[in-house]
């Protein structure tokens, strides 16, 4: 018995109703989910909640213009007070802009990029994976060659290259991240479809005259859903880091939009005299990414424990599509 199935079994014993939504009303079901969260889930949900809230209402609560420059209030430390008597809870940067306001608004860029890039990458990747797995043969060959080509290209370098050619813009950043993010979805979904195809219910559906379209949408896609959700959560964490990296290197989000990556890049020069300029947005990224990764862990334990197994991962990563199938047979 491997670790994940042991964990799931233990959890199932601890709360027998955990895995199904029953007729006890929404409140009871919600409570059940909360009970299964455990510390890492609680931490993840709380932190993410704070990030999402600050992206949406942060600016309404802390009504300071994030782009307002005040050169006589440069590099004020956290809890510093400007000459005009304005409080700067997290201090100011090299142009006297309020760091709290910028960090709050920066959350928007990170969330927007993560949501859109993961969304588009998931749609493309899942589509490719499903088609590749169902049709096999030449189609599969072409798509998997695309996957291999994509994997062989160095991601960060490619991203800054495209960004440098097309110029800095939010749309370009999202396109670049999508172009590099779909591969994970395609590989895992394909390997899952390959193993699902050997199941009796698929054979039954096929035997009853189900066409490929219906087979894809009604039978294969729903059975891949939990895996897709788990991969999407890890992908979101990766996208946030990737966006920050591109912006840090100066070719990502345009400089007039506050983003965590470019804030760190600004603060880098002032590290010896004003640590807060770089460390505060850096901590914001790190906390968000940890929270999303933990959420992904928790989702995986709950929805798709087998995805955690390294031997299975090797199968998927090596593109054989057999890892999952082997695990199923064992």
């Amino acid at each position: 018995m491997n670790e994940s199935s042991a964990t799931t079994a233990r959890r199932a014993r601890a709360c027998p109703r955990a895995s199904r939504w029953d007729g006890h009303g929404t409140l009871a079901s919600a409570l059940t989910v909360v009970r299964t969260l455990r510390p890492k889930g609680v931490f993840a949900v709380t932190t993410l909640g704070i990030v999402i809230l600050s992206a949406f209402v942060g600016n309404a609560l802390w009504q300071v213009d994030p782009s307002f420059q005040q050169l006589n209030a440069r590099l004020l430390p956290p809890l510093g007070v400007g000459y005009d008597g304005a409080y700067h809870i997290l201090g100011t940067d090299h142009l006297g802009r309020d760091l709290l306001a910028r960090t709050l608004v920066g959350a928007r860029v990170s969330l927007l990029v993560a949501l859109l890039a993961v969304g588009v990458a998931a749609i493309v990747g899942v589509g490719v994976g499903l088609v590749s797995g169902v049709f096999g043969g030449r189609v599969d060959h072409v798509f998997m060659t695309c996957v291999d080509v994509q994997l062989a290209l160095p991601f960060t370098l490619l991203a800054i290259c495209i960004a440098a050619i097309t110029g800095p813009s939010l749309v370009n950043v999202i396109l670049v991240l999508t172009a590099t993010g779909w591969v994970a979805f395609a590989r895992v979904v394909r390997s899952q479809v390959l193993s699902l195809r050997q199941m009796d219910f698929i054979a039954a559906a096929y035997g009853l005259g189900c066409g490929p379209g219906r087979l894809l949408l009604r039978y294969l896609l729903p059975n891949c859903a939990s895996t897709i959700i788990v991969i999407a959560s890890f992908a979101a964490a990766r996208m946030i880091v990737a966006e920050a990296t591109i912006s840090f290197l100066g070719v990502g989000v345009p400089s007039w939009i506050p983003s965590w990556g470019s804030m760190i890049s600004d603060g880098r020069t002032y590290l010896p005299v004003a640590w807060w300029v770089a460390i505060i947005p850096g901590s914001a990224i790190t906390l968000s990414v940890i929270a999303i990764n933990l959420l992904g862990d928790w989702l995986r334990d709950r929805l798709d424990p087998r995805l955690a197994s390294p031997s299975d991962l090797v199968g998927i990563l090596r593109g054989k599509g057999q890892g999952r199938a082997d695990a199923e047979r064992a």
């Binding site: 491997n2 160095p154 290197l249 460390i279 850096g282 790190t286 031997s311 990563l317």
Partner: protein
Amino acid sequence: MTGYLFRSATRGSIVLFCVSVLVFAMSSLAGDPIKLLVPAETSPEQLEQLRNAYGLNDPAGVRLGRFVSGLVQGDLGYSFRYQQPALSIVVERLGATLELALAAIIVTLLLALPAGVVSAVKRGSFIDTVVMAGSVFGHSLPSFFLGLLLIYLFSVKLHLLPTSGRGTLAHIVMPSLTLGLFYAGRAARLLRSSMLEVLHLEYMRTARAKGLAETIVIGRHALRNASLPVITILGLELGGLLGGAVVTETIFAWPGIGKLAVEAVIARDFPIVQAVVLLTATTFVVINVMVDILCGLLDPRIRLTRT
């Protein structure tokens, strides 16, 4: 086996061909390289002459053919900025990148091996919790931020290590830690779950029943079998390091391929970027094919089932 070898190699070459077409397309989209070479006051006629001389007015198919045949002969173009063949500049920087990659691998192994093994053997203990928390932290921390934190701690506050450059052993500590911590986080986690899969198998009971010491049971019987999937995955990821760790090299001004590529992108010196991308892709594909072949040699099931 010959058929299997042939299939692996063919697949690798097809991928490489597609990569070079993509790289070619990208550099064509990047704009007119002639304008970067000449002074701003050059007349349109002169520009046209130069374009003809460099063959830039030929159809795309002809230029692609010339590009690929150049690649096969090891000609990756001429750097605008350095006025030297791009390949020789890249090869010059390869040493620094290899050095950093090696140091990063050592750091990864030193951290991940004990952490992964101990947390699997002492599963559920305090150590396990700490290691798992550390591993999430390690691979969640963006490398450019970790790099800055290290610089702040070791260079600005403690004055222990140089902030950037290459030369002494002290220079390589922070870049290799930055890379190593990231990979160690993943490796420790993988090793732990891989060990947990193995620890319950029957040959472990046999080994214990033979009366072997626990260190031998864990070290020789469990670790050896558990490390295979970990080595495969890490091998693929660390393979990417040979193409230069773009961000880490930039932060620590490490004179490797990654930093060279970033500078080249900013200066629009695309032959260098092409050379780096192609070199990285080739390394990745070659490692991939080698792993394929190795897996096929070690496990006959793979070469029989694989189509």
